[in-house]
């Protein structure tokens, strides 16, 4: 990436933009999935395990079948399976969904590392990118704008979810289950079934997010692949006040923040690399402190959510 040095500070800006797009995609997918889950009244802290398991299954399937798209599908399916497990256990009476999330986090990561050992060395076919930077002959710009179609799928999904929550039958039912389980039961709807579907969908999207990590960027499988994106998504959803479109903006923000560290390294700033790394977490915490109040529930929080009580 020697050409980046030629760009100097513009290279930094470029890197941040590129980083924002690339790194935000898994954040976006996972947070959209978690938004749906939380709107139905459940918190899924096991998304980190789901993400990692999705990454591993995606990579393994792509390696074994030669098709990255099949890999992506496998990633989603494994994520959905974890979501189903989470939902089934949480449907039992007196079960704390946060504890289940942590259990699945440990289980999912353990399973992924265990089954994924043989796939650490090999290279698997990657997902293709859309070469949106082909107008430039500068290699840095071109590679910065190699965007995965999943980014645009994510945006479309965000818009669809935002619209769907207000204008489709399923959207209203999911919101009802998350806001007043009593009301849902009063009209005879099974709150458990609604939450199960929402959690499965959330798991699927997290799995796909993991697949993105393994099959596009960074594009390999190893045990340090995820840096907590799954858990971060929960914070991101709160940050975005449970709005899918705001999840998109928040994901861009976090993606950009994560990219600052590596980006400024290229212009010689090596101190504080890790502090930049902490930026998204600190930012979320700061925002949480700012927007919480000791007496009121967070504005826009689904009533039934255990973390908003």
């Amino acid at each position: 990436m020697s050409s980046t040095l030629d760009l100097g500070w513009w290279g930094v800006v470029l890197a941040i933009i590129a980083g924002a797009i690339r790194v935000s995609t898994p954040y976006l997918l996972v947070s959209l999935g978690e938004t749906l889950t939380e709107k139905s009244g459940r918190v899924n802290l096991g998304l980190e395990g789901t993400l990692v398991l999705g990454a591993m299954s995606g990579f393994a399937t792509s390696y074994l079948t030669g098709s990255p798209w099949l890999g992506l599908l496998a990633a989603g399916v494994s994520g959905a399976a974890m979501g189903l497990l989470h939902a089934l256990i949480c449907n039992l009476p007196r079960v704390n969904d946060i504890a289940v999330g942590i259990a699945l986090f440990i289980f999912g990561i353990g399973l992924a590392f265990y089954l994924g050992k043989p796939f650490i060395e090999p290279r698997a076919p990657m997902l293709p990118a859309l070469p949106l930077g082909s107008w430039s002959h500068h290699p840095a710009i071109r590679s910065a704008f190699d965007v995965s179609p999943l980014f645009f799928i994510g945006i479309a999904l965000a818009l669809a979810l935002e619209w769907g929550m207000k204008n489709t039958r399923w959207g209203l039912i999911v919101r009802m289950a998350g806001d007043s389980a009593d009301a849902a039961r009063a009209i005879g709807r099974s709150v458990e079934r609604i939450r199960t579907y929402a959690t499965i969908a959330g798991g699927f999207l997290s799995g796909v997010g993991g697949g993105f990590l393994a099959l596009f960027y960074p594009g390999n499988w190893n045990e340090g692949l995820s840096s907590g994106q799954g858990l971060m998504a929960v914070a991101l959803v709160i940050f975005a006040r449970w709005s899918p479109v705001r999840c998109f903006y928040a994901s861009l923000l976090f993606g950009g923040a994560s990219a600052i560290g590596p980006a400024v390294q290229t212009v010689g700033i090596t101190e504080g690399y890790y502090l930049f790394y902490a930026a998204p977490y600190a930012l979320t915490l700061a925002l949480l402190i700012y927007s919480s109040s000791p007496t009121q529930a967070l504005a826009g929080a689904p009533n039934e959510l255990s973390i908003s009580r």
Binding site: A99, V100, A103, F105, Y274, L275
Partner: protein, 379 residues
């Protein structure tokens, strides 16, 4: 004869209450059954054992699907954890920090807070220990060790107490805040050990300055297990006594049982939450400090090995009981310890122990659903 249950939400729409005033002799009937009914703790124990059994079976199926003989795996698990003197020592070494990190979830849980910040508190404890140890170079050995560990305790304590303060003053959910603080702590440590407090003579990996050698803690005589085990054990037992036999512990129970009842009883809610979180964080901080004074001597990424997260597991399995933590930590330590043997004998990645631990956790959580079914009825 079972008494009908009162559900406050359905006070007018639930089953009817007993109607006639109790006849005179009825008030004596309770005397006959006033012996202690340990139904709840007996039931809890049975449920945990049942969960362990189910988890073991599921694990057996899992390894069978991989082509291994489940019985052989069970045997290896036992051997690796408790079979030989060497494996027992290994188990105890693994269990020692878990005794303390479990308290980081357990004590706040007693006041109704779900804290998952053990990982961060361990890291802060390690950093605190390193900084104090280096600053106190030249002090007498025992004093230095004690102060070093104390510094770790304070660091961890204030870290988690901060989350309690955020909860009390701003209503920030403690699970999310301690989760985020884990990552901030790890990033902070990485930053410090790659620059400001780095020991540049160590080229293998980034590492902080080492604490003075005299401050290091050795092994229990005759065993290859460091004194950290005894520290952890003592703290757990002391804590149990405090939680069960002091007014402070009773206040914790009231707050954890019903916040509104605690308010009505005039208990200082904020102070209780801060104290509970400080104690929990201090325990995990001590675990981090012990990793420094008894194992590594300096802070590095070896501090971040999931001690905090496994501690959460221990606390839940022990059903937030400080004495049960001793047994559970031993169990999970045994599982961790047998990882090496499993790796050698069956060529299984070490992660298989996480699979087993996760399965146990899931089964125990699911078993909570059956709690209360066997509660003995009155009459």
């Amino acid at each position: 004869m079972a008494l009908p249950r009162y559900d406050a939400r359905n006070r007018d729409t639930g089953p009817p209450e007993a109607r006639a005033p109790p006849p005179a002799h009825a008030t004596l009937s309770w005397r006959i059954t006033a012996r202690r009914l340990p139904t709840d703790s007996l039931e809890a124990l049975l449920l945990s054992l049942a969960a362990l059994a189910v988890a073991s079976i599921l694990f057996g199926v899992f390894v069978a699907l991989q082509g291994h003989d489940p019985l052989a795996v069970y045997q290896t698990l036992y051997l690796g954890g408790f079979g030989t003197r060497f494996s027992i020592e290994n188990t105890l070494t693994q269990a020692a920090p878990l005794l303390l990190t479990a308290l980081c979830t357990l004590i706040p849980a007693r006041v109704g807070l779900l804290v998952i910040g053990g990982e961060g508190a361990v890291v802060l404890g390690g950093l605190g220990a390193v900084l104090a140890g280096v600053a106190l170079a030249g002090a007498p050995a025992l004093i230095g060790t004690i102060l070093t560990i104390s510094a770790g305790a304070l660091a961890g304590g204030f870290w988690i107490a901060a989350a309690a303060a955020l909860k009390h003053m701003r209503g920030v959910n403690e699970t999310i805040s301690t989760l985020l603080m884990n990552y901030i702590a790890i990033a902070l440590m990485n930053h410090l050990i790659s620059g400001p407090i780095r020991d540049f003579s160590q080229t293998l990996k980034a590492q902080s300055w080492s604490i003075p050698n005299p401050f290091m803690v050795g092994n229990i005589p005759g065993w290859s297990v460091h004194w950290g085990l005894v520290i952890g054990l003592t703290i757990c037992v002391l804590l149990h006594l405090v939680l069960r036999h002091t007014t402070l512990g009773f206040s914790f129970d009231i707050l954890g049982g019903n916040r509104r009842a605690a308010q009505m009883a005039g208990l200082p809610i904020g102070r209780l939450m801060l104290l509970a979180c400080f104690l929990g964080g201090a325990a995990a901080g001590i675990a981090g400090a012990i990793e420094i004074v008894a194992v590594h001597g300096a802070a590095s990424e070896s501090l971040v090995v999931g001690l905090g997260y496994t501690g959460i597991l221990v606390a839940f399995l022990a059903r937030q009981n400080a004495l049960a933590v001793l047994l559970v930590a031993l169990l999970l330590g045994g599982i961790s310890a047998s990882g090496g043997l499993l790796q050698r004998r069956f060529d299984m990645p070490h992660a298989v122990t996480s699979v087993l631990q996760g399965l146990i956790f899931i089964c125990v959580l699911a078993s909570n659903a059956s709690a209360g079914r066997w509660r003995r009825s009155s009459g």
